[in-house]
Amino acid sequence: MKPKKAQSQPHKKPTQGFVVIASRKKSFYVSALNLMESIRDYMPDAKFAFFTEEKWIDHRCDDIDYVFHCGGHVREKMYGMANSPFDQTFYIDADCECEHEDIADVFDRLGDNDMVFVKLTKEKDAQRVFIEVNFEQGALELCGGVCLYNSAKPLVKEFMQDWYELYVKQSSGEWWPEGYPKSLARWDQFTLWWLVNKVEKYKDLKIGIFEDNYRWNWFAPFGFHADGKHKLVDKHPVIIHYSCFFKKDKDY
């Protein structure tokens, strides 16, 4: 039987890649290179967009698909997220490392969501790691350490840009909503909470949670069970987040 002629142009496969950002401290640059290489251990054809300060760039960036210069603000991360060159993006904090082959199918986990996050949960081992989660009006449940998102959708890109701009204002003291505890002003997760819960234009964004949650952002201080297995996950984590363990001020 003769194959049917295609009625329309075939769908162009969306481009998929990782966004990693290293600014302010050289240690983030060193760790970010390690993170990208650790992803390539399991996914040799992974594509990367690396946002970093020009002064640090060396030969190790030669085989990175996109290298962009960024500034030295505390949250260049959202700038990078807003400027992803890919259609589907997985953002990962620089002080992480990939330890599982499931990274190779991370983009399948986007489904029909606009964004997918890891959710901070109420288990004791999780709560002792996150110092400020609950406040009178809500809870900082979405963790900004990793984010899988549909970066081809203009509203999502706008969201990321707003996240960046609002956080810059928030951290400089230019913006802060009345009635909210000031101590939350240092967290970009508060800005994320605000945009998701309080800004009308983003109310229809479809936000998902990774099915195996902490496997995608397993914080090293969560600790281990007596048998050596990682706490709060059923299977070996995909992304290990060193966060407070990481010597940010080490001078390389």
Partner: protein, 156 residues
């Protein structure tokens, strides 16, 4: 203050001449206060302490034995929990040391410039500092040998 009420007395020594118990007292306003008390069987004049007699009468020797067993079990449980927490903390510290050491290894010039992805990956996946040192040394040596070969070819 009312007469104290003794709760959960347990032996505090093997010869059973000292007890530990929760002493509950109530003041004139009805406010209750609780504190842990040690009760010796004999006072300074080698006479039996009246509180001791009262506790034995109320709780009985078997009751005090049972409380002692419970107390020991609770203490063992607490010690195990503390030991597990210490082990966890130690394991977390190990993870921290290993990660930071790995990053430092990747900054050694020979490792930094190496294209040997297999060994670089071994360094990254090292489970402890011994493995880390072993693979790092191997890669440094390999790079050093490559360099020596290259300079020998250049001079020949």
């Amino acid at each position: 203050m009312t007469k104290p009420i003794w709760e959960t007395p347990a032996w505090d020594n093997e010869s059973k001449t000292r007890m530990i118990a929760m002493m509950v007292t109530t003041d004139e306003d009805g406010k209750e206060s609780r504190s842990t008390a040690t009760i010796n069987k004999f006072d300074d004049k080698k006479k039996i302490n009246p509180d001791w007699d009262e506790i034995i009468t109320i709780h009985g020797l078997k009751g005090i034995d049972k409380n002692t067993d419970n107390r020991m079990a609770f203490r063992r449980q607490k010690q195990n929990k503390e030991r597990r927490a210490d082990e966890e903390r130690e394991k977390a510290k190990e993870l921290e040391r290993l990660f930071n050491s790995k990053l430092a290894c990747f900054e050694i010039t020979e490792i930094k410039n190496s294209k040997n992805r297999k060994l670089r990956s071994k360094i990254r996946k090292a489970k402890n500092e011994i493995e880390l040192i072993a693979y790092t040394s191997l890669l440094v040596m390999e790079e050093y040998q490559n360099e020596t070969k290259e300079s020998a070819v250049a001079t020949a």
